[in-house]
Structures are given as structure tokens and as C-alpha cells.
């Protein structure tokens, strides 16, 4: 990969607890180019923590350790909080699961979008507003003028998530981390939101980290897939070749997906092998 946006080596996310240190992410390595990297895994496998660790948004007392965390020219490991603030939003942004919670309930869409831009660029209110309108238009929102004046509770889930995408893309970041961006949405709007996000990411030549527990979704929308289990990457493969995955965990997950054309009375229950936990992480660099 010649055009590497993000390069991570041996990343750990650790939380000191009363019973010793808990490791949410245990030494994973991956890199991201101008591509769509999917991270799949079950709840608690460390996929969300990986996304947040990249932005150094792990809440204390948790902390991040790594041999290397390089974003473009910046070494994230030595970056101060001040440096990180200049990176967050401007170079790497994140979309979270549910717009009902991830948008500020007492601020209008306009206030929140304008703020995302003015944090990083010196622009007039007028200019910021027109950029916000453009962005809303880009995420297929009709009547953007009206939507700017709305509060989050006045928009639907699908619209909220499109607003979120628009807001995060306003400062033109190179990396977008999407943490289960559609799991809270109605099935009917999931695809629409995904397509909009996909198109924007592709048009702008961004790198996308798509975190999900939905194997099929990831297979369809990503270029590469990393499968996480117990804080490690157990398998990496081309998204198109996910069906040929080798690792028993991935196989188990695939096997547990219901299929409309071949209905089964009972879905398979994943048998977990304790050895998977300890097997070394596969590199996704």
C-alpha cells in the first residue's frame, strides 16, 4: 500500500481494574490506505475500542499502548492532547451508532455543523452555513435550509445519521471511522445511509474503517475485512473472499448467519476454542 493514511503496530487498549489490568485490545496491527477496511467481531471483541484508540479517546483510567501509531505525518503516540484536538475532526472523524444519542439534544443542526467546521477553519458564519448546506445536500437531505434550524429530536434516525455524516465530513477529513453506523437504524434506511457514506468516502478518496458485527454488510461494503476475537485480529481477508475464510471463528460466524434460501430449524451455535484467545494476532497491515 503506497498511500498509507494510518499505520498501527501492536496496539493495546488497557484498563486497570481492581482485579488487575483488563486488556480490551491485545496487540493488533493494521494499516489503512484509501480503502474501506471492515472490522467485525462480536460484542466485547474490542472493535469499538480500536476505533476510539485511533483518536486517543479512550476514557481514563484506560490507556493506549502501541509500538507505532502513525497517521500521515503525525506520530499519534507522542502527540499531545492539543495535537490530538487538531487531528480529531480535521484528519480523522468518527460516526457513532445512534444519532439519537450522538447529536446534542439542545443544539440545532446548524449550531452543531457550523461548530465542526469553525473548530478547524477560520471561516465566516455565512461561509460556514453555506458549507453546511452543501454538505446536507450531499447526504441527500431535502430542504437543507429547514433542516439546519431543527433540533435532533425533530429528525428521524436515518436523517440524523445522514446529518452526522455530513457534520463529520465538513472539515474534509482523510479518515472516517464508522462505529456500527447503521445498527440503530430501521432496516429500510440502512442501505440508503450506507450508500451515501460509501459514495462520499469514495469520491473524496478517504480511508474508511467500518466497524460492524454484520458480516454480510461488511463483505458487501468493504475492501478488506479484519475479524476480531477477544481483543485480537484472528483473520484478515479480502472482503470478496470472506466466504472462503479459514479461521474456525470466522467460519462459525458465517455459519451462524441465517440464509433465506436455505432455512434451517436451528442456527449453529458458535463453539469457542480457548486456544483462539491466545493465538497471536494476525497483522492487517
Amino acid at each position: 500500500m503506497s498511500d498509507t493514511l494510518l499505520d498501527v503496530e501492536n496496539l493495546w487498549v488497557r484498563f486497570p481494574t481492581r482485579n488487575g489490568i483488563f486488556d480490551a485490545v491485545r496487540g493488533i496491527s493494521f494499516s489503512l490506505g484509501r480503502e474501506r477496511l471492515g472490522i467485525v467481531g462480536e460484542s466485547g471483541s474490542g472493535k469499538s475500542m480500536t476505533g476510539r484508540a485511533v483518536l486517543k479517546l479512550i476514557r481514563k483510567p484506560g490507556f493506549v499502548e502501541a509500538d507505532k501509531m502513525q497517521m500521515g505525518e503525525t506520530d499519534l503516540l507522542t502527540a499531545s492532547e492539543r495535537d490530538m484536538r487538531a487531528i480529531r475532526g480535521r484528519h480523522a472523524a468518527m460516526i457513532m451508532q445512534d444519532p439519537k444519542f450522538s447529536l446534542n439534544p439542545v443544539m440545532t443542526v446548524e449550531q452543531q455543523m457550523v461548530e465542526a467546521l469553525t473548530t478547524h477553519e477560520r471561516v465566516s458564519r455565512r461561509e460556514a452555513r453555506s458549507r453546511a448546506l452543501e454538505m446536507l445536500d450531499a447526504v441527500a437531505i431535502r430542504e437543507p435550509e429547514r433542516v439546519l434550524r431543527l433540533y435532533p429530536h425533530e429528525v428521524s434516525g436515518g436523517m440524523g445519521q445522514r446529518i452526522m455524516i455530513a457534520m463529520m465530513l465538513i472539515p474534509d477529513p482523510e479518515i472516517l471511522i464508522a462505529d456500527e453506523p447503521t445498527s440503530a437504524l430501521d432496516v429500510s434506511v440502512q442501505l440508503q445511509v450506507l450508500e451515501i457514506m460509501d459514495k462520499l468516502v469514495k469520491d473524496r478518496g478517504m480511508g474508511l474503517i467500518f466497524i460492524s458485527h454484520d458480516l454480510n454488510l461488511v463483505a458487501n461494503f468493504c475492501d478488506r475485512v479484519a475479524v476480531m476475537y477477544a481483543g485480537r485480529i484472528v483473520e484478515v481477508c479480502e472482503a470478496g473472499k470472506l466466504q472462503e475464510a479459514q479461521h474456525p471463528y470466522t467460519r462459525g460466524l458465517l455459519n451462524a448467519v441465517p440464509d433465506l434460501e436455505h432455512p434451517r430449524d436451528r442456527l449453529e451455535v458458535l463453539e469457542r476454542d480457548p486456544a483462539w484467545r491466545e493465538a497471536p494476532s494476525v497483522s492487517a497491515r
Binding site: L55, L57, R85, A86, I87, R88, G89, R90, A93, M94, M96, Q97, D98, F101, S102, L103, N104, P105, V106, M107, T108, E115, A116, T119, H120, Y151, H153, M164, M167, M168
Partner: protein, 352 residues
């Protein structure tokens, strides 16, 4: 089924704008609450083991005098009738005469209430100005020394009796250090120098431009106000802390950080904005609490306010004054609640 028909009948009637409906509902609630309040105070007046006739004419009156007074007070009428007369009088601002001062209770209250208002307002301002930032900081730096200090300060505020702190405060700051003026609202030499406009000495003397009086009045009020402020600070900071903790854990705060906002903006522009609403209710309650007349504080500092007025009246069997004062306090309480409700609508876009 009945509800459905009811609803469709409503539809046929004139369509009122929603804000008007809300206003009407609010006013109705207020009216009912106040009527309830009047009923309670009226009943208190009747069940108290004080003979209202004797209280007026004294123990040595003859039976004829007694009977005349009995009739004059309308005690021969039925209880319901008496209640209606009472409500009518109160609505026209007539609480009867105070036996103790010989003046209309309304006049008395108009005289003592500004003292309480001034004290309570300054106390609440102190509580807000110190308590809110302290609570926010305690939440942001949860578990740190700031949080521990806030907790300790709050604990003292909760557990120390106010009369004790008041006396110690007087001893130290008045008796030993002589930093503040003593009890009362104003030094003897300054009495009557201020033109009475609002009854609030600080405001009146400031309007007059009489800064010597202002300084003296301030010296008198600062200690009791600080004391009351301390108690509301303890309450306000604790509530602020728990409101903030809840907000700081929410997703939109993470969103704000993802945007690259500074921590100061994350805290004040995002999280704090969301607690303003709850905070208003807390502050209104704390304010109402102080306005009710902090009896102990007013007595210790010889503060001629509503609290000490009611207490002295009660001890003098002066029921008209007690009931009048109670009604005023109750009305303030209801009023502040409505006020915070209105602010709520103003600050929370979801309530509109």
C-alpha cells in the same frame, strides 16, 4: 370508548392555539394549588388551640364583649361560609390585623419581606456562583482532590446545624476579627438615612448613591448571606455534580470531542447546556427554601425578616400574622415553581 367520543367532541369546538391551552392549564393548576393552600391555612387557624376571640379582646373582657367580638369575627357562620369570606379577604389582600403589632398583616409583611428577599437573593447568588462551578469541576475531575474537597464542603454544609455555624461565624468574623458588622440589617447611626424604594437596603442605598450606607448594609448582610449561600452551595454543587456526570457519559459529548473541540467547550457548550434545565429547578427550589425565611439564621442575626416575623407571631398567639405569612410563602413557592417551569420550556427545545 367514552374518551374517544370526548375527543371527537373536542375537535368540533373552537380550536385553541396550543400555547393558550397550556397557559390555561397552568393557571388552573395554580388556582387549585393556591385554593388548597388557603384551605390548609384556614383549617390550621381553626384547629389551633387558641381562642381567636380571646386573642383579640384579652382575658379580662366581659361576656358581652366576648359575644360582640364573636359576632364581629363571623364565627357564628358555618365553616364553609367562613372559608369563603376568608378566601375573599385574602384575594383582596386582607389578612386581618396583627394582634401583636396592631397593624394590618399585609403592611407588616410588606415591611419584613424585603429583608428576607434581600438575604435570600444574595445567599442564592453566592450559592450559584460558587456551587455551580464547583459541581461542574467535581464532575469533570471525578475522584480528584477537587471532587474530594467539594464533597467535604458539602458534607459540612449538610451536617452542621446552621445556628451553630452562625454563632461561630459571628464569634470569629464579628467578635474576634471584626471584619463584618454585627446583627441587624443596618448600624444604629445609619437607620432612616435611606429613602425606602424597594425595601432592599443594598439596592436603595445604591440608587441614592450613598455608599457609606451601602457599605454598612453590606457588612451586615454578608455573613448571614454567606451562611445561607453555603447551605445552598452544598445542595447546588452536589446536584450539579450528579447532573454533569450523567451528561459527560453521553455519546454527544464523545461526538464533540471527535470534532476536535477543546475540553472547555465540550464541558460548557455541550454538557453544561444540557443540565441548565435541571439546574433551574434545583436553584428555584433552593431559592424558595431561603425565601421561606430561614428562621434560625434570622433569629441569630436579629434579621427582621419573614421567618422571624412568623416565629415571633406564633409565640404571641398572633394567628392572623402566622397565616398571612404562610400564605405569602406558599404563594412564592408556587410562583417559583411556575417560573422554573416556564424557563424549562424556554431552554429545552423538546418541551416546545
Amino acid at each position: 370508548m367514552t374518551e374517544v367520543t370526548q375527543h371527537s367532541e373536542d375537535r368540533r369546538g373552537p380550536v385553541l392555539p396550543p400555547w393558550l391551552k397550556k397557559l390555561a392549564a397552568t393557571l388552573l393548576t395554580v388556582a387549585v394549588t393556591l385554593l388548597g393552600l388557603l384551605f390548609v391555612t384556614f383549617m390550621i387557624g381553626r384547629v389551633m388551640p387558641i381562642d381567636p376571640v380571646l386573642a383579640v379582646i384579652g382575658e379580662r373582657a366581659t361576656q358581652a364583649q366576648y359575644d360582640a367580638a364573636y359576632l364581629e369575627l363571623g364565627l357564628d357562620k358555618s365553616l364553609l361560609e367562613q372559608f369563603f369570606i376568608y378566601v375573599r379577604d385574602v384575594l383582596s389582600g386582607d389578612f386581618g390585623k396583627s394582634i401583636r403589632t396592631g397593624q394590618q398583616v399585609t403592611t407588616d409583611i410588606a415591611r419584613v419581606f424585603p429583608a428576607t428577599l434581600e438575604l435570600a437573593t444574595l445567599g442564592t447568588i453566592i450559592g450559584i456562583v460558587l456551587g455551580v462551578p464547583l459541581g461542574v469541576m467535581a464532575a469533570v475531575y471525578r475522584g480528584s482532590w477537587i471532587d474530594q474537597t467539594a464533597r467535604f464542603v458539602g458534607l459540612i454544609g449538610y451536617s452542621m446545624p446552621i445556628f451553630w455555624l452562625g454563632l461561630v461565624g459571628l464569634l470569629i468574623f464579628y467578635g474576634i476579627l471584626d471584619w463584618v458588622e454585627g446583627p441587624g440589617r443596618l448600624g444604629v447611626f445609619y437607620q432612616g438615612l435611606v429613602t425606602e424604594r424597594t425595601g432592599l437596603l443594598l439596592v436603595d442605598s445604591a440608587i441614592d448613591g450613598d455608599w457609606t450606607v451601602f457599605k454598612n448594609a453590606f457588612g451586615h448582610i454578608i455573613l448571614p448571606a454567606a451562611l445561607l449561600g453555603y447551605y445552598s452551595l452544598a445542595y447546588i454543587s452536589r446536584m450539579t455534580r450528579s447532573f454533569m456526570l450523567e451528561q459527560l457519559n453521553s455519546e454527544y459529548v464523545t461526538t464533540a470531542r471527535v470534532k476536535g473541540l477543546s475540553e472547555r467547550k465540550v464541558i460548557w457548550r455541550h454538557a453544561f447546556r444540557n443540565i441548565r434545565i435541571q439546574l433551574i429547578t434545583v436553584i428555584a427550589l433552593a431559592y424558595a427554601n431561603l425565601l421561606e425565611g430561614s428562621v434560625l439564621t434570622e433569629i441569630i442575626f436579629a434579621w427582621p425578616g419573614l421567618g422571624s416575623y412568623i416565629t415571633t407571631s406564633l409565640l404571641a398567639n398572633d394567628m392572623n400574622s402566622v397565616l398571612g405569612g404562610t400564605v405569602v410563602i406558599g404563594t412564592i413557592f408556587v410562583g417559583l415553581n411556575i417560573f422554573s417551569d416556564l424557563l424549562y420550556r424556554f431552554f429545552d427545545p423538546r418541551a416546545k
